[in-house]
Every structure is written in structure tokens, then in C-alpha cells.
Symmetry: none
Subunit: 143 residues, 4 copies
């Protein structure tokens, strides 16, 4: 299994910011977590509001928790709200179930971390996470 | 009252994994709790995602908490969400109300523990828990 | 970086139990955590008391948290209790700072998980963790 | 009041890392918080252990909480442990009272954030925080 080095994490973030600039998005916060859910690198653009670090982390953490993109976690939360309530409870309230949390897979398909983005619409946030992961040479799984 | 020995708990888990293999399921995490809700044995198959231990525990814990399979706890959560919200609150967020948490009863019908399984669909998870409990000579109560 | 497979984790635990039997120790609980602090395998021997899972986990988690064996974390706690109080706080009370939590290193020296043992004296607990890790072909770091 | 822009925060971190390299320190984690205690930028060097983000944050947060460097918070914790216990309690366990959390002051002396560093000895951690803050043109207050 590979790991996400700090150098790769910063590459992910700079590419995610570049995508946000290209799409003229609102200020973003981007978090890169390792496979165990700990931050490798975090950057919050000027003007990104107070809770953005926690939101971005909650998206990436949700993806790692269930082994699927936070978009799919969101679908579970909509279809089976009681299930998501339970998941949220056992996680200590750490999951944000909307698009923008994307798994990072290495060449063999192993999950080596996750990226969380917040600041614009959830769909745009996700697009930036995907762009960042691809720019660093990994495979995004927004599932 | 009987208790679930470590030997029996490991028998439950190996049989649950065998059922999962037979049904060609995704990687599973299986937790065996004693009557007090403490782990006797826990095993997470390779590739089972980060929060799986907590999810499996939350299903088994919910079953013990109310004395019924987590399938029935899930029905309560769907029919009376305000009730489940209260239950979740007083439990400190420890309950996951979907199938896959199954009570273990001895020959006299006493509850001696619970098994929680997660990784595939909730119905498949439950089938593995039932198979494991039966293989160890106990009576499953999936509620 | 390697990972601790379920098969390897169970090998660690059976060897730790064998060491406990050889030394005629009290019933043990052994926890194997991955590099992110999540359980891979957990087994509690018959007669091992209620909180043993949490204690074993707390030792292994403390080792991973600071990148040193829980024996060394314990030395910090004794020498600088205010520092340990802070560490305990930011960890959400998850650290048990006594011997028995041992890092698992792969051939290149990378930390790939940790083993926590509890049930007998802390020194004996640690000896079992070390024996288990060695039996599985990894390098223990009880530091 | 000035604020710490993302650009300035990254300047602080790169200078802190440069100081660590110059002093041949262990891998570091550096956190830059704004005046409200929220992360602006966080970077964890390869090999920096699991809890390092929380430790670095706990040092910087402690500095902001009391308006003094975490070195001085540590002195309080040693001299009046009952007081620190109360502070830790009301903060929800968020304070790590050892050197390495340094206030960032602007030219008028206003507190505009704090930097937390962990990974080597507390004294070395603090030296890196100070070097980073100075390199970005702000005034460090290590208290």
C-alpha cells in the first residue's frame, strides 16, 4: 500500500485550488487525510468561513469510514435517515454526508486516504477534489 | 446462564466468514459481544473500511440494548423516529438500527450476548450473523 | 508500507496467548490496531474483566499516537503529568500510559500498527505483545 | 487588526520546516490557527505520528485561550495543577500545556493567531514556531 506524502498532499491541494479558480468558485477549504483519517495537509483560502475545516474533514472522514465517496454516503442518509443517524452516532458525529469527500486510491486500488473540499456547491467541491487527486497521479473514487 | 467463551466466539466468527465467502460478499467485520455489551472477539477482514468495527458494534449493542434484533430496532427507528432519537441520545449514540445485529440465546432462551456484522447489504450481514450463531450451537434471535 | 492482515493479526494474538500460558499469567485481552488506530483483531480470554478491551486499546492507541511504545508514554506521564493531561484531553481520553502497548514495524521500519495487551502486570503484558509481534515476522518497538 | 492570510500561513510553515531541517529535528507537524482558533494551514511531515495534528493544535489553542505562549500555560499547569485541570475541563480538553504554542502578534501588538509545533523536544518545537512567525514578518510571543 502506498501512502500520501506531504509533498503529494500539497500537490492535491494546489491543483484543487487551481480548479476552483478556473471555475470561479467561492473560497475553498481543502483537507487531505491519510488512510487512518488523520490530516496530512489542510489549507483554507482567505474568506472561507469558520467551520469549513470541520466540514471538509467530515466529508473526507465519511468517505473513509464507509469506503465510498461522501456522495454515496449522502444517498444512504437520504434514503435511510435512521441508518445515517446511527452511523453518525457511532462515529461521534464526525460525518458530513454530501458530495465533496473523495477517496484516494493507489494504482492497485487500495484506499490510501481521502480529500474533502468545501466552500462552493457540493458538486463543485467534488470536482475540485477529483481534479486535485488526478493531478497528483492517484485515482479519485467519488462513488 | 451460559456465557460465550472466546472459543465459541471465534467459532461464531469463522462460520460467519464462511457464510460470507459462500455468498461471495464484500469483506466483513464481525463483533461478538457478551451480555454486558463488551467485546469477546472482533475480526475485520482485509479491505473492510475504517468505521466497520464501530458499525458492527453499534448493531450488536442496539440488539442488547432493547433485547431484540437490530432489524426490529430499525423498524422502531423508521416508525417512531422521535423515539429512536431519544434512545440514541441516552445510549450516547451507540446504536446502529439496521439488520445485522443478532441476539445470542442459550438453550433456556436467556440472552448471553449479541453478534454484529457489517460490510455487505444489511440483509446479507444478518444472514452471516445467524449462520455463525447457529454453527456455535446457540439460538439466533434476529428480531 | 506493509499492512497487518487479519491473518497476521490472529497470528500475533495466538502467539501472545501462548506466551501468557507459558508464563502462567492471568487471562489476557489482546488488541491489534492498524496504523490508523482501528481494530484488526481483538480477543478477550475467559475471565478477563469488563474494561479490558478498552485498556488494551488505550495502550496500543497511545503508542500510535506518539510514535513510541506505551512504556515511554508512561514515562512522560510520570515526569510531566501536566503534559500527559493535555495529551489525554486532545485524544478524547483514549490513552493508557503504561507498558503493554507496542508498535509494530515492518522491515523498513515503518509503523504499520500496534498491539495492546492487558490482564497481568504491565511488564508481563508487554512481554506477550513483543512475543506476538515477533512470531508474526514483524519488529516490536516497546520503546 | 490584520489577519493571517493563507499565503502568510504557508510562509510560516515553510520557515518552521526549514528551521527543523537546519537543527536536524524529528519530523514535525505545524498548525497555524487564526484569532478564533480555526486552522488556516496545517502540514504534517512524513513520519510524524498519529496524534501530532491534535497535539500541535492543542498547543496553539492553549496559547490563544489564555493570551500567552503555551510555555507560560505550562508553568501555570505545573504550579497550580488544580487551575489547569479546571481550564482543561472548561475547554473540553483542548489544551496541551507545554512549549511549542506561540502567539502571532501584528505590528500593533494585536493577537492575530497562533502557531503550534510538535515532533521534537518542546523547546525545539517552540524554536521552529518562532522562526516561522518571524520569517512571515509577524512578532512571535512565546510567553
Amino acid at each position: 500500500m502506498s501512502t500520501i506524502t506531504l509533498s503529494k498532499a500539497n500537490r492535491i491541494i494546489s491543483a484543487a485550488f487551481a480548479k476552483g479558480k478556473e471555475l470561479e468558485l467561492a473560497p475553498l477549504t481543502v483537507v487531505v487525510l491519510d488512510a487512518g483519517g488523520q490530516p496530512v495537509s489542510v489549507q483554507r483560502q482567505d474568506g472561507s468561513s469558520m467551520l469549513r475545516f470541520d466540514i471538509a474533514t467530515g466529508k473526507a472522514w465519511a468517505a473513509l469510514a464507509l469506503g465510498m465517496g461522501s456522495r454515496k454516503v449522502g444517498a444512504i442518509a437520504v434514503e435511510r435517515p435512521h441508518f445515517f443517524q446511527g452511523l453518525s452516532g457511532v462515529s461521534g458525529g464526525r460525518m458530513v454526508p454530501v458530495p465533496g469527500g473523495v477517496l484516494v486510491r493507489d494504482r492497485k486500488g487500495a484506499i490510501i486516504g481521502a480529500v474533502g473540499v468545501t466552500g462552493d456547491t457540493s458538486d463543485n467541491d467534488e470536482a475540485c477534489a477529483v481534479a486535485g487527486i488526478e493531478a497528483a497521479g492517484f485515482t479519485p473514487d467519488a462513488g
